[in-house]
Symmetry: C2
Subunit: 400 residues, 2 copies
C-alpha cells in the first residue's frame, strides 16, 4: 500500500465538481457532484437513528440496485423532518443530476448535511447542479472535500494505491464531520471511490469491514445524527480481474479500504468540535469484542473523562467509573489502567505516580489510555477527543 | 403536607454533627454524623455501577438488617478502588462511630464521596469522629449539608410535615451532588430522616417509589458514580400507629417522601456543575413508561441539546435527533415538540416560529421541553441542566 495524492479523484475515471448555491454563507461552495465516467458498483452504510433524513431514505433504496454513476451532496441543510416535501427534494436532486449526466435517477446517490427541520431550498440546489457538473474535474477532490464541510475546520481527503495481482488499484476518499460523531456514524459523510473491478457483494462486505473498524469506533460527543452516510463507488477502470468476496486478494482490498476509512475517521476526531487532544482508548482483556467496544465507548463518551483529558488530569478513577457503568461485567481486582504508557492501577491496586510528569505528558496533543479488563482476550480500539470550552462555544452558537 | 425548617434534624429524635478532618481544604468540615436517639427502621438505595465504593458495600450489607442508629459520611475521598484497605477503612468508620454512641457496628451506615483511587485517610477520619459526635445537635442539619459537599456550591436540605391519622409526622433530608448525576443516582448522596413509625418493608417500598420518581429522573452529564447512596432512617418518635405497606395512609407517607426526594433532586440539578438553565423534559404519548424515560434521558444527556439550551437556541432538531437514537421506536410523523409552550413541530410538520421571541424566552433560567411521541399514553418527566463553559472548567480542574 502506498500513499498517493488526488483524494477522491485519484482513482481512474472519477471527477468531482462543486457549486455555490447560497445555502451556506456566501463565498462557500455547498454542493458537490462526484461522477464516475462509467457505471460503478456501489455500496452504502447509513445512520441507525430512527429519524432519517430524506436523502438517507433515497440513497438507501438506490444503493440496493448495486450500480451507480454519481453522488450529489449538499451542506447547510440536512433535509430532515421535512415530510413529503423533503422526500420530493431529495428525489429531485437525483433526477436533475441524472438528466444532466445522462443516466437513470436511481443511479444517483444523494446526501445532505446541516440544520434539521428547515425547509429545504430545492430551487437553489437545482440551480447549482449544472454549475457543479460544468466544473467537474479529475482534480476536484479538494474542492469537493471543502464543499461538504459544516463545522469542520479542515477538508479531509486521502488516497492510497494497492496492488491486486500486479495491477495497481487506487482508493480515494473525502469526509466531513466534526461533532455528533458516534458509533453508527453520526453526522458524518465519507464518500469513497475506487477504480477496482469488484463484485457488488464483495464491495459491500469490504465496506462493512472497513466501517466497523473505523467510523464505528470513533465518538466525539455521543450524539448520532439523522444523516450519517458512507457511500462508495467502484468503477473497474483499473482493469484487474473481477474481485469477489472469496478471491485470494479480497483481504488486500479490504485492508486498503480499512486504512482509508481509518484515516478519515481519525481526521474527523482530530477536527472534533473544540478538540485539543486526540485520545486513543485501547481496551484489552475483554470477554468478547462487544464488551471491549462497549467499555471503550463508555469511557470515550464520559464527559468527566473528556474534561479530565482537556485538563491534562490523570484521573483514572473516571476511566474505571465509566467502565463500571458501561454494563460490561467487570471486577476492579482484574483491571489494569495505563495512561500514555504509565500504569496507574494494576489488578486492583493503585500504583504511585509522578503526577507532575504525567500531567506534562498529557498536555501534548495525544493521550493513549490502555484499559485491560482482565476477563478474556478480546480487544477494541476507540478514538475520541476531549471536551473543551470551544466545543460549548461551537454548539451553543451553531444553527441560527 | 406543609413545609417546615430544620432539614434532617427536623424530625424528632435526630441530631447531626460535623468535624473537620483535613481531607478537604482547611476550614471546610468534611465529616458528618447523623444520629437517631433510638434504633430506627432503615432503608437504602445504591449505585448500579459495577465498580462500587467500599462504603457502598458495607452500607448495603448493614441496611439489610433493617435497623440502624447512625449514618457516618465523609467528603473529599470516595474510598473507591482501595481494595482490602478500603473495606477495612469503611468498617473502621462504622466501628468507631458505634463504639462512641454505644451500638453494634452493623447499626451504623457509611458513605464516602470525592476522588476515586486515592488511599483513604482513615487515621484522620477516626480522629474526627469523636469531634463530630461531640457537637451533635438537633440544629445540625445545615452544617451536615455543608460537610457532605464536594463541587456543590450550595448546601441542600428540606423538610416537610405530613399528617398520618391525626399525628404530625416529619420528614427531613440533606443531599449533595452536582456532577455525574444520572439515573441510578450518580455521585449523589441523599440522607433522609423521619420520625414516622413504619415497618421496614413499608419504608423500603416508599423509598423505592420516591427515588424512582426523583433521583432516577435526573441527569447532569450522563456519568454514573461508584458511590451514589440514598439512606433513610425512621425512628418512630412521632408516635403514630405502625405504618405498613398496605396501610390506608401509606400513600400519604410515600407522597411526602417523594416530594422531599424530588425537591432534593431538583436542587441537585439547579446546582449542576456550571448549570445556567433548569431544563424539564416532559415526554408524553410513549408506548410505555420505559420508552418515555429512555427517550427523555437521551434528550437530557445529548451534549448538542444541552449546549443549544446554554445558547438559548430553539434547535428542536437536536431533540428529535436524540429521541431517534434513544432506541425507542418513534416515527417523526407522530411527533409533536414544544419549547416553553411554543409548538415547533407538530405531527411531522415544521411550524413557523418567532425565533427572536423564543430565544428571549429561552434565555431565562428555566426551559421546558414537551416531546409527544404519539405512540401511546405513557409519560415521564426528566430534569437536567445545560452544558456550559463552567462545566468544562470545573471538571478539567477538579481532583488533583
Amino acid at each position: 500500500m502506498k500513499d498517493i495524492t488526488g483524494g477522491i479523484t485519484a482513482p481512474e475515471g472519477f471527477r468531482a465538481g462543486v457549486a455555490e448555491c447560497s445555502i451556506k454563507k456566501p463565498g462557500r461552495p455547498d454542493l458537490t457532484v462526484i461522477l464516475s465516467d462509467v457505471p460503478a458498483s456501489c455500496a452504502g452504510m447509513f445512520t441507525s437513528n430512527r429519524i432519517k433524513g430524506a436523502p438517507v431514505l433515497v440513497s438507501r433504496e438506490n444503493v440496493k440496485k448495486g450500480s451507480a454513476r454519481a453522488i450529489i451532496a449538499n451542506s447547510g441543510n440536512a433535509n430532515v423532518c421535512n415530510g413529503e416535501d423533503g422526500l420530493e427534494a431529495a428525489v429531485a436532486m437525483t433526477g436533475e443530476t441524472a438528466r444532466l449526466i445522462g443516466c437513470d435517477s436511481t443511479e444517483v446517490l444523494v446526501a445532505s448535511t446541516g440544520v434539521i427541520g428547515r425547509p429545504f431550498p430545492i430551487e437553489k440546489v437545482l440551480r447549482g447542479i449544472p454549475q457543479a457538473i460544468k466544473n467537474l474535474s479529475n482534480e476536484g477532490s479538494n474542492m469537493a472535500a471543502r464543499a461538504i464541510m459544516t463545522t469542520d475546520t479542515v477538508p479531509k481527503e486521502t488516497a492510497v494505491e494497492i496492488d491486486i495481482e500486479g495491477v495497481p488499484v487506487k482508493i480515494g476518499a473525502i469526509a466531513k464531520g466534526s461533532g455528533m460523531i458516534n458509533p453508527d456514524m453520526a453526522t458524518m459523510f465519507c464518500f469513497i471511490t475506487s477504480d477496482i473491478s469488484i463484485s457488488q457483494k464483495a464491495l459491500r462486505k469490504a465496506l462493512k469491514i472497513a466501517v466497523d473498524k473505523s467510523f464505528n469506533c470513533i465518538t466525539v460527543d455521543g450524539d448520532m445524527s439523522t444523516s450519517d452516510t458512507v457511500l462508495m463507488l467502484a468503477n473497474g477502470k483499473a482493469g484487474n480481474a473481477l474481485l469477489k468476496s472469496r478471491s485470494r486478494h479480497f483481504d488486500t482490498f479490504a485492508d486498503g479500504l480499512s486504512e482509508v476509512c481509518l484515516r478519515m475517521a481519525k481526521a474527523l476526531i482530530k477536527d472534533g468540535e473544540g478538540a485539543t487532544r486526540f485520545i486513543t482508548i485501547q481496551v484489552t482483556g475483554a470477554a468478547g469484542k462487544d464488551d471491549a467496544i462497549r467499555a471503550g465507548m463508555a469511557v470515550a463518551n464520559s464527559a468527566l473523562f473528556k474534561t479530565a483529558c482537556f485538563g491534562s488530569d490523570p484521573n483514572w478513577g473516571r476511566i474505571i467509573c465509566a467502565a463500571g457503568y458501561s454494563g460490561v461485567p467487570i471486577d476492579e481486582n482484574h483491571i489494569t489502567i495505563s495512561i500514555n504508557g504509565v500504569t496507574l492501577f494494576e489488578i486492583g491496586r493503585v500504583l504511585p505516580m509522578d503526577e507532575k510528569k504525567l500531567r506534562e505528558e498529557m498536555s501534548g496533543s495525544e493521550i493513549t489510555v490502555t484499559l485491560n479488563l482482565g476477563m478474556g482476550h478480546a480487544e477494541a480500539t476507540i478514538y475520541t477527543s476531549d471536551l473543551s470550552y470551544e466545543y460549548i462555544k461551537i454548539n451553543a452558537e451553531y444553527t441560527t
